[in-house]
Symmetry: C2
Subunit: 332 residues, 2 copies
């Protein structure tokens, strides 16, 4: 039996379970020469998928209606007619939300469960870690002694960004939505300070207090009012990495905010959209540092693991309420 | 007799003549060893001066109340006790709004009225030309065949940016505020297309039509609704040079606009504040190209020359109504 999750409707605003449809087929898919049969082990759910559910021009084409949704997946090779993969191998890749599927092996990477837990290849040793490492380094261009602010700091990417910031000698301030998360940022991930945006009335003032020397790098996962407040605190030559804008993904009207242009010109500051796939030539460098720091225990990570294929849509929707700590993963 | 213009009040919103005070002294200033007596010939008035009239943190310190205002000035050396300058030399520099003043020569450049009209050293061969050349090249990073949109296109900087764009093989679209200016952009400066923002209802659509391949570089002198409309038309890896935001300089409330972050992340696009003084190491390179193109007649420029020291404040205020074509200069 094979279960598949299709995109049934393009969500209006916040996604709901009715935007997804489950389809069950009785027979297992068959493989031909050169193909593999994969059984899904872990599925990554990520805020950026919201963008692909809309029918708008973006850096990746939108998902098609009534077709399977795709995301980062770890799968086990259960049958192989492809010489590059053996039965029992685990692979990672952009795959369908399906319990079983056929692949020709293209775009799949073998992963080693002895070196790190398999789920880590969706997170700190996968796109999450690459995004954190490359976004911070390629756009943020950190220099020891500078001050870094990370929004969505308790999220999968944010928590890694902050830790890399500390490894590189920065003062690191995290913005997150609960006191528990702020506590975790400081005790588990080594952030220097944290701001709970839900209980802080004057976010602009709180950033100023936490960053007495001003902000040199802002790693922005959220957009919206937090990012507005940040602009008042940037230093000359500040770099703002726009990695995501979760606070506005579900807006049905075009979001408004204060004009960034006067802040950028006053401070000779830079703001740049970051998409990890543009930096694939640097993946080996990123992987080398991330796995090195992980084995030296300089880097740690959080996962929120949800059980069961049927819970994929709910796990995805829960991202928008910040129910995850670190990477949100569904175990099949 | 020496006249001086002081900043009397920090303007609230649009500057008015009552924000300025004229002071007259009967005696000419005296010079000591190492000093020069300068007689002002041309005074540059520029939108960025509005920023220095406010008491806000910026890339240059604010003007002090009851002190002379400064801007780019061409002056004649009428007496010299400094071996580097002779009576009769003309110099350019950041100088006071005064008919006569003393200088120790620091920061002054000799200019040659035989090579180009003296006023050109405030414009195309001065900060204006440097800003156009370096902003376009250092942040815009143009590649032949790309599409460039310039706002404030009939202004001093904008008209040079567009011409350099044409020299470098770009498709160039200018946005300006009258049909007469649009006509000038096309006939005098060689722009491929122009959009009159005062008579065009759908600016977003008009940009799309003028830029069928999308926009790769936006040289932004204005901010506000034009810049909002532009965001819908950017290509992947677009570069937005924030050179000025004249549309919001006089706002008394913090200006709002659509959130740029989702556009930047969708398109891996860059937006960066440009201030010419950060690139002083490249001035010789810029000067070489600008004077070369000028003598080859690949580059031309417009000036609006206003007569009389007493008209400096009005000439400055008129900038905000777009009364200038090209560089606004006051001849003393």
């Amino acid at each position: 039996m094979t279960k598949t999750i299709l995109l049934k409707n393009r969500p209006k605003g916040r996604p709901t379970t009715s935007d997804f449809e489950f389809v069950t087929e009785d027979n297992d898919p068959k493989i031909s020469d050169g193909e593999l049969l994969l059984e899904t082990t872990y599925v990554s759910v990520d805020p950026y998928l919201r963008g692909r559910m809309s029918d708008a021009k973006s850096y990746v084409p939108p998902f098609e209606l009534n077709k399977p949704i795709q995301s980062g997946v770890i799968a086990k090779v259960v049958a192989s007619k492809n010489s590059k993969f053996n039965e029992g191998d685990f692979v990672s890749g952009m795959l369908d939300w399906k319990t079983k599927q056929v692949s020709n092996g293209e775009g799949l990477l073998k992963v080693d469960g002895n070196k790190a837990p398999l789920s880590a290849y969706l997170g700190i040793l996968g796109m999450t870690g690459m995004t954190a490492y490359l976004g911070l380094n390629e756009i943020g261009k950190p220099k020891a002694g500078e001050t870094l602010v990370v929004s969505g700091a308790a999220g999968a990417v944010g928590s890694v960004v902050g830790q890399i910031g500390k490894i590189l000698g920065l003062r690191v301030i995290g913005v997150a939505g609960t006191d528990e998360k702020i506590e975790m940022l400081k005790s588990k991930f080594g952030f220097d300070a944290g701001i709970n945006y839900n209980t802080t009335k004057d976010i602009k003032g709180a950033i100023a207090e936490a960053a007495p020397n001003g902000v040199d790098i802002y790693f922005d996962n959220v957009g919206g009012p937090i990012s507005d407040a940040l602009l008042f605190n940037i230093n000359k030559f500040a770099r703002i990495v726009i990695c995501g804008a979760i606070s506005v993904y579900n807006e049905t009207e075009l979001p408004k905010s204060i004009s960034v242009q006067p802040f950028l010109v006053k401070n000779s500051a830079l703001m740049q959209g970051f998409i990890v796939s543009n930096y694939s030539d640097k993946f080996p460098e990123a992987m080398k540092h991330l796995s090195g720091w992980l084995s030296e225990e300089k880097l740690t990570y959080s996962e929120t693991i949800v059980d069961g294929f049927d819970n994929i849509p709910n796990a995805f929707i829960d991202l928008f309420d910040g129910k995850n700590k670190g990477k949100m993963i569904v175990k099949i």
